[in-house]
C-alpha cells in the first residue's frame, strides 16, 4: 500500500534542484464533486518562494488555480495555506526548503473551514469570532490633548499580540476549532488579550466576561498548535493563559485598571 512512495522516478531537473513539483488540492464546486490533487512542474531558483511557484502555475499553466495573495512579504495575511501538512504563509517560504526527496511540495487549503475554490476558504466563522470579542479599543472618557502615557514596558507587553496579521494559520491548526466553531479561537483571543492588557482600554471587565464563557479561554486544551502554526512567531496560548488568570480575578483587575487610568495623562516616572 505504500507503493506510491517508491514508484515514481525523480526527474533529472528535480534532482539538480532547478525544477520542483507542486501538488495542489483542487476543488471548484461549480464542476467538481470532491477535491482532488493535481501536480504541476515549475522552474526553481534559490530565491523562488512557494507563492512565486503558485503564481507561475496560475499565470503560465492553469489560470483557474485559485488562491489569495497580496503583499508578498508576510504582513497582509492573505496567503495562509496548508503546506506539507502545516499552516504557513506561502509568500515567505522558500520553495527549495519545502520539498520532499522527490522534489515535491503539497499544498492544501487551510483546514477546518469550508472551501470556496482550490486554496480559498470561507472565513465567515473566523471573522465572526473576531467581532465577538470587540476588537476595538474603548478609551476612557477623559481624552488628553496629547497622547496617553504608556511606558515602553507596557508597550512591550502588547508586542506578542499587536503584530498579529489575522492570517488564520493558528485558527485552522486548532483542533478545538475543528470540533467546535463556537469556540472564539486563538486569533480572536490573542486580539482580546491585546485590548484587555492595554492600559488605555476601559472595559477590561466586559472583555474578560466575554472570554470567560463556555466557548472562551477554558476551551483551549493547550495543544500549542497555534504557536507552531504562527508565521509571525507569536504565542496565542500564552495570551489565552494570561486571560484565564485575569478572568479569575476580574474585579481586582478592573480596579487596578481604574487606578492605572488615573495617571494615564501623566509622565511615566522612570525607575
Amino acid at each position: 500500500m505504500f507503493d506510491f512512495i517508491f514508484k515514481r522516478e525523480t526527474p533529472e531537473a528535480i534532482k539538480k534542484g532547478n525544477k520542483a513539483i507542486v501538488r495542489i488540492q483542487r476543488f471548484n464546486p461549480e464542476v467538481d464533486e470532491k477535491p482532488y490533487m493535481e501536480e504541476f512542474e515549475v522552474p526553481m531558483t534559490p530565491d523562488t518562494t512557494v507563492l512565486d511557484a503558485l503564481h507561475h502555475i496560475k499565470t503560465e499553466q492553469d489560470g483557474s488555480v485559485t488562491f489569495r495573495r497580496s503583499c508578498r512579504h508576510a504582513i497582509c495575511g492573505s496567503c495562509a495555506m496548508n503546506i506539507n501538512g502545516s499552516n504557513d504563509l506561502a509568500c515567505h517560504r522558500p520553495l527549495s526548503e519545502s520539498l520532499d526527496y522527490h522534489g515535491k511540495i503539497t499544498i492544501k487549503p487551510l483546514p477546518f473551514q469550508p472551501i470556496i475554490k482550490d486554496l480559498v476558504v470561507d472565513r465567515t466563522t473566523f471573522w465572526a469570532q473576531y467581532m465577538k470579542i470587540k476588537p476595538w479599543l474603548i478609551p476612557p472618557d477623559d481624552i488628553p490633548e496629547k497622547e496617553f502615557r504608556m511606558s515602553p514596558e507596557e508597550v512591550e507587553a502588547l508586542h506578542n499580540a499587536e503584530t498579529c496579521i489575522m492570517c488564520g494559520a493558528c485558527y485552522s491548526s486548532c483542533q478545538v476549532v475543528g470540533l467546535n466553531k463556537e469556540y472564539i479561537g486563538p486569533h480572536a483571543l490573542l486580539k482580546s488579550f491585546l485590548r484587555t492588557a492595554d492600559p488605555r482600554d476601559s472595559i477590561p471587565g466586559e472583555r474578560l466576561e466575554i472570554v470567560d464563557g463556555d466557548n472562551g479561554v477554558y476551551r483551549c486544551h493547550t495543544i500549542f498548535n497555534c504557536i507552531d502554526a504562527c508565521p509571525k512567531n507569536l504565542n496565542p496560548t500564552e495570551a489565552i493563559e494570561t486571560l484565564r488568570k485575569l478572568a479569575q480575578k476580574r474585579l481586582a483587575y478592573e480596579e487596578a485598571r481604574e487606578e492605572r487610568q488615573k495617571t494615564l495623562n501623566e509622565p511615566i516616572r522612570e525607575a
Binding site: N28, P29, E30, P46, D47, T49, K58, T59, E60, D62, G63, S64, T66, F67, R68, R69, S70, C71, R72, H73, A74, I75, C76, G77, S78, H92, R93, P94, I116, K117, V120, M131, P135, W136, L137, P139, I143, E145, K146, E147, F148, R149, M150, S151, P152, V155, L158, E162, T163, I165, M166, L194, R195, D198, R200, D201, P267, I268, R269, E270
Partner: protein
C-alpha cells in the same frame, strides 16, 4: 430599476487608511448607511505594509547634546525647547516635493499631523514610546528633525488595524472581495459604481449620494516594485475612463531600498536608524551626492545616486545591479528592537541576516505621487478650471491633492492618507446631511460590465494576459524608470500602444464564474495599460527634471515653463494634456535651489 441594484448613502471604494478613515468619520458624524467595497479583505490593504512611521512635528526626541545632527536621540525633557514645528515640516515637504506640492494643502497636512497621530493613539494604536511615555520619534529622509512616529517597523500595520477596528465599532458595512469595475458619472454628477462580487461573480450596480475612492497607488505597472499584487491602480484607471482627469501621473517614486531582485521594501527606517549605503568599492557613496544629509537625503536623490553608481559599474552582486545596505554597526539589540520585520524579510527572501552581513538592495517603484486631482476636502476636480465632480471624492495614494508634488518624503504618505481621508469623511458627512440626492442612473450600467466580462472570457487568442502585463512592466521599468529621456519614453509609448492592441486578443484561462481571480488579473491588466499611457505621455511632455521625474536630456528644473501640474483627460486619441498652476506662497516659500 435594473436587477441587482444596491443603494447606500455613501460608497467608499478601498479599505486602506484613506477609505477607512473617511467611512469611520462619516459614520461617527451621523451618516448611517455606508458601504465600503474592497477587492481584498480590508485588513489586507497595502497601507498595512508601510513600515517606518507617520510624520508629525511632536518634538518628543532630539539628538543628544554635543553629538551633532546625526547623533543618538533622546527624549526632550519637559519644558525644554522643541526642535520641530509644523513650519519646519512644511518647508521640508515643499523642498522634498521640488516645489510642485500645493502649499495650501501642505499647510493642512502639517497642521493636522499632530492631531491625527494623537487620534490614532487615543483609538488604541500601539506606538513605540520614550521612557516618559510619549510617542517615540525617529529620523527619516528629507526631514530636518526626528519626526517619524513609529511602532517598531510595522507602523502601517498597527494604524490599519486600529482604524479598521474603529470603523467596525461605528457599524460601517464592509463588502470584502468586491471588485469595482466602473464609476457612474453623468452630467458631471457621480451616481454610484458597478462592482463584481468576486465570490459569486455577480455584477451589481451600487448607487449612492456620494462615492469616495481610496483605491491606492499604481506601482504594479513596474517590474521591480515594492507594491502588493493588489496595487494595480484600478481606481485611477476607472476614474479616468469615467471622464475624471488624472494629475501629475509622471511622478512615480522609486524607493532606494527595495530588496535586490524582489523589490520588497526595506524600510527607510534602516537608514533613519543609521544604516549605510555602500558600493562595490566599499564606499559610502552618498557623500558625493548629498554631503550634508548623506543616506537621509530624499528618496528621489538617493535612488538616482544608487542608479548612477550601478550604471557606472560600481554596483554589487553578480550582475552589478545591486547596492549594499549595511546595518551591521547598529548592533544586534537595535536591529531586533527597531527593525524586526526588516530583518525577517532579509532573512526570508535573500538569506541575509542584517546583524551579520550587508543586505543587497536596488531602487524599486514605490509610490504614486500622481492621481485623481482633489481639493483639500477630497472633492474631485473635473478640470483645470476647478469645477467639482459632484458627489465624487478621493484621498490617499490614488488622489493628488497634491502634498507630495514631484517627490514624497517618507512618513508623509501614512500622514496624507489619514489627514485627507479624515477630511474627506467630514466633507462627505456634511454633503450627505446637507440634503444630497440619490440621482438616477440611466440604462443598465451593470449589464454593460457583464458584457465586458463576457467578451473578455470569450476571447481565445494565443497570448496570455500575464505576458502582456510582464512586457508592460519591463518597458516601464527600463524606459520610464529612475532616469528617462525622449528616446526611451518614445519606446515606452509605442510599446504600450502595441500592448493595448495585443491585449484585445489576450486569453483569460479561467472561464468560470465564481471566485475567478484570473478574470480579475485580466481586468487589472487592462487598467495598467490605461494609466501607463498617461504616465508616459506626461513624462514625454515634461521637458525638465523635477523630483522623481529625471530626464537625462533635460537635467535641470525649469520653473519658467514647468512649475505647473500636468492634467490629463481621456480622449479617443489618447490622453489630452493641460496644465494647472501650483499653489505657492511666494512670500514665504518661493522656489529655491534644492540641495541636501
Amino acid at each position: 430599476m435594473p436587477n441587482n441594484t444596491i443603494t447606500h448613502d455613501v460608497i467608499v471604494v478601498g479599505a486602506g487608511l484613506a477609505g477607512t478613515w473617511a467611512a469611520m468619520v462619516a459614520a461617527r458624524e451621523g451618516v448611517k448607511d455606508i458601504g465600503v467595497l474592497s477587492k481584498i479583505h480590508p485588513l489586507r490593504s497595502h497601507s498595512g505594509a508601510a513600515q517606518g512611521g507617520i510624520a508629525a512635528s511632536l518634538s518628543n526626541t532630539r539628538p543628544v547634546a554635543g553629538t551633532g545632527p546625526r547623533g543618538p536621540l533622546e527624549q526632550i525633557p519637559p519644558g525644554e525647547e522643541p526642535v520641530d514645528s509644523p513650519d519646519l515640516h512644511m518647508f521640508d515637504t515643499i523642498k522634498g516635493s521640488d516645489w510642485l506640492g500645493d502649499q495650501d494643502a501642505i499647510r493642512i497636512l502639517v497642521d493636522d499631523a499632530a492631531d491625527v497621530v494623537y487620534e490614532y493613539e487615543h483609538m488604541g494604536c500601539v506606538f513605540s514610546r520614550t521612557p516618559d511615555g510619549r510617542i517615540n520619534q525617529r529620523r527619516f529622509g528629507g526631514h530636518s528633525a526626528p519626526r517619524a512616529c513609529f511602532a517598531a517597523d510595522w507602523t502601517g500595520h498597527v494604524l490599519l488595524h486600529t482604524i479598521h477596528e474603529q470603523a467596525l465599532r461605528n457599524n460601517v458595512k464592509f463588502y470584502a472581495e468586491w471588485y469595482v469595475m466602473n464609476l457612474i458619472i453623468e452630467d458631471n454628477i457621480c451616481r454610484g459604481v458597478v462592482a463584481m462580487d468576486v465570490l459569486t461573480g455577480e455584477v451589481h450596480t451600487l448607487r449612492a449620494k456620494a462615492v469616495m475612492f481610496g483605491t491606492g497607488g499604481y506601482g504594479r505597472a513596474f517590474k521591480i516594485t515594492s507594491n502588493a499584487f493588489a496595487n494595480t491602480g484600478d481606481g485611477v484607471a476607472i476614474a479616468y475612463d469615467a471622464g475624471a482627469p488624472l494629475m501629475d501621473m509622471e511622478f512615480v517614486q522609486f524607493h532606494p531600498t527595495g530588496l535586490y531582485r524582489h523589490g520588497i521594501l526595506m524600510s527607510e527606517a534602516c537608514r533613519g536608524e543609521g544604516g549605510y549605503l555602500i558600493n562595490n568599492k566599499g564606499e559610502r557613496f552618498m557623500e558625493k551626492y548629498a554631503p550634508d544629509k548623506m543616506e537621509l537625503a530624499p528618496r528621489d536623490l538617493v535612488s538616482r545616486s544608487e542608479q548612477t553608481e550601478i550604471n557606472e559599474g560600481r554596483g554589487v552582486m553578480e550582475d552589478g545591479q545591486g547596492i549594499f545596505l549595511d546595518m551591521r554597526h547598529l548592533g544586534r539589540e537595535k536591529i531586533l528592537s527597531r527593525l524586526p520585520q526588516v530583518r525577517e524579510i532579509a532573512i526570508n527572501f535573500v538569506g541575509v541576516d542584517p546583524i551579520d552581513a550587508p543586505v543587497p538592495i536596488q531602487p524599486t517603484a514605490h509610490y504614486s505621487m500622481g492621481g485623481i486631482p482633489t481639493t483639500v476636502d477630497g472633492q474631485v476636480i473635473a478640470n483645470a478650471a476647478g469645477d467639482p465632480v459632484v458627489g465624487f471624492y478621493a484621498a490617499g495614494e490614488c488622489a493628488a491633492v497634491s502634498v507630495h508634488g514631484a517627490n514624497r518624503l517618507g512618513t508623509n504618505s501614512l500622514l496624507e492618507a489619514s489627514v485627507f481621508g479624515r477630511r474627506a469623511g467630514y466633507a462627505i458627512a456634511e454633503f450627505v446631511k446637507g440634503g444630497a440626492q440619490l440621482y438616477p442612473v440611466s440604462g443598465d450600467p451593470a449589464e454593460r460590465q457583464r458584457q465586458r466580462i463576457k467578451s473578455l472570457l470569450d476571447r481565445d487568442g494565443d497570448e496570455l494576459v500575464e505576458h502582456i502585463a510582464q512586457d508592460l512592466k519591463s518597458t516601464m521599468t527600463d524606459n520610464c524608470g529612475v532616469f528617462r529621456d525622449e528616446d526611451r519614453l518614445k519606446v515606452a509609448m509605442s510599446d504600450i500602444k502595441e500592448l493595448q492592441e495585443r491585449f484585445k486578443h489576450a486569453r483569460t484561462m479561467d472561464k468560470g464564474r465564481h471566485f475567478n481571480t484570473d478574470l480579475l488579473a485580466t481586468l487589472e491588466a487592462e487598467h495598467l495599460l490605461t494609466f501607463s499611457e498617461v504616465i508616459v505621455a506626461g513624462a514625454l511632455a515634461r521637458t525638465e527634471s523635477r523630483g522623481a521625474h529625471s530626464r537625462t536630456d533635460f537635467p535641470k528644473r525649469d520653473d519658467e515653463d514647468w512649475l505647473k501640474h500636468t492634467v490629463a483627460h481621456k480622449t479617443d486619441d489618447g490622453p489630452k494634456l493641460s496644465y494647472k498652476p501650483v499653489s505657492i506662497d511666494w512670500e514665504k516659500y518661493p522656489p529655491q535651489e534644492r540641495k541636501y
